[in-house]
Symmetry: C2
Subunit: 268 residues, 2 copies
DNA sequence: AAAGTCGGTTCATTATTTAAACCGACGGTA
DNA sequence: TACCGTCGGTTTAAATAATGAACCGACTTT
């Protein structure tokens, strides 16, 4: 892990619940040496990725992230295009919806909306990266990505986020295949013990899944009929999203994964 | 300059006009070695700050900046609070308005709006950092910041962005003092030969200027009466912005700079 | 086919990062 | 008062990680 990654990793400790972090806490969270962390913080601050509160001396995310996000959205407006779709989907289903984009072997949530119609709500942390093997969004992306991605995920350890997380490679492959066949994915209790979710892939002009739209709800409200309704709205929303980005979903029944599996079977 | 800064600096080459940059162009722009730049790009990409176009192999800003911007806005919503004010100001004045936040010795634009009411328009690059000494926003911030900031700026070289940029320390001090006295700043042709702008400081709960709101217009439309009208609306908008952020403007006539100057005069 | 591109890789040299120990300031508590 | 732990921040020699000249193969232009 290079110096750059170590420094950038520090930024991932921020979340809605921990918007400010001091030197000591960064050291605790990262497990690295204090002087090292300090220098990284100083350098991040010098570049505007952090700013230090004058009073508490704690650090928070700086203006540079806003500026860069603005530049990206101005030239590649994925978030602003997809946000209305996500909000509409959340309102239509009455449950939390979100879009996450593929970033390496994880998913990066970029926008979410919760209509807050019920007493219990899904606890969604927009700062937290989502694993591919333990979330419906991840499975949806895996089902419509080049085979290399699934192979890479299978090659690594499938970390258990809950007792129900899929950790068996074969089970994951089957789950992904099923998602590829039906055009959307489902994952119960895989990431959070009390949450179930469904997701459908989003495509851009390259024809590959760049991320997924997902609806998540507490297990207590996960009734079969409701899930079917959500799935239908979800797929429609994801297709609309792909269309908006200039892409389109591959014909169901011939998803990338199936071709990949055939390729693999063909090679001795 | 540390490795982290070198890498993060690469991100600043993006702009509305150059949303994608290849390896070779990064090398040209940064003047650094190709292997070094490449490694930095790879590491930035691994952390989601860049993503590589599958076809062109060029890089663009990645989803991580969106995620981080979302986290910051969720916990420290400066941009989303100020955007409506900026848009209203732009509509009221009929000219381009923007907010920029202090980041070290530069300003980081975080949002702007142009009502496009005229044939000529100000060319505003949201990706470009603004210098303190050559922009009205910068002068506004200097006029309401602890004296250390002005000293730091005066200690460095005052780079000329145009033939009219203030490069003389005394002239800059006078300009800042005037801005401190009247509560807003004015800067003609200082950054762009064909643009004039006015700016007023924005304060948060700490009582120090965190940035400025500004209105910029082509010199050809810069008529005295219009500038006076704009200044009034500008100051009102900036005060509203400060109020929204929980801060308030210090009483005009006793700005921080005056105290600083007195302090300096007092010390032998 | 020669000479440009382009993105990406290699490896010895070197400079930067690293981590243990240290510092002074602060807040609570005997 | 003295003591204790914790805070943010600094210093050092030792070690790891960054560096850049040269190289590679693919692709275009001439």
């Amino acid at each position: 892990m290079g110096t750059i990654s170590k420094a950038l990793d520090l930024l991932n400790f921020f979340s809605r619940r921990t918007p400010e972090i001091g030197l000591g806490e960064f050291v605790r969270l990262s497990g690295r040496d204090k002087a090292t962390v300090y220098r990284h913080l100083v350098e991040l601050e010098a570049n505007g990725f952090l700013e230090q509160d004058a009073r508490s001396r704690a650090y928070r995310l700086g203006p540079a992230v806003l500026r860069l996000a603005g530049v990206r959205e101005a030239t590649h407006p994925v978030r602003s295009l997809l946000r209305p779709i996500v909000e509409q989907l959340a309102r239509d289903t009455g449950e939390l919806a979100h879009v996450s984009l593929l970033q390496g072997r994880m998913l990066s949530p970029i926008c979410h909306y919760d209509p807050h119609l019920h007493g219990t709500r899904v606890n969604f942390n927009e700062a937290e990266m989502l694993p591919l093997h333990a979330t419906s969004s991840g499975v949806a992306v895996l089902a419509f990505s080049p085979r290399g991605l699934l192979d890479k995920v299978l090659a690594g350890k499938l970390k258990a986020y809950s007792p129900h997380t899929i950790t068996d490679p074969q089970t994951l492959t089957d789950t992904v295949r099923k998602a590829a066949a039906q055009g959307f994915s489902q994952m119960g209790r895989g990431f959070d013990e009390e949450v179930t979710s469904q997701a459908a892939p989003v495509f851009d002009t390259t024809g590959e899944a760049i991320g997924a739209i997902s609806v998540a709800l507490p297990m207590v409200r996960a009734e079969a009929g409701k899930l079917r309704t959500i799935a239908a709205e979800l797929v429609a929303a994801a297709n609309a999203a792909s269309h908006l980005l200039g892409g389109s979903r591959p014909a169901v029944g011939q998803p990338a994964l199936d071709r990949a599996l055939l390729d693999r079977a063909a090679k001795p």
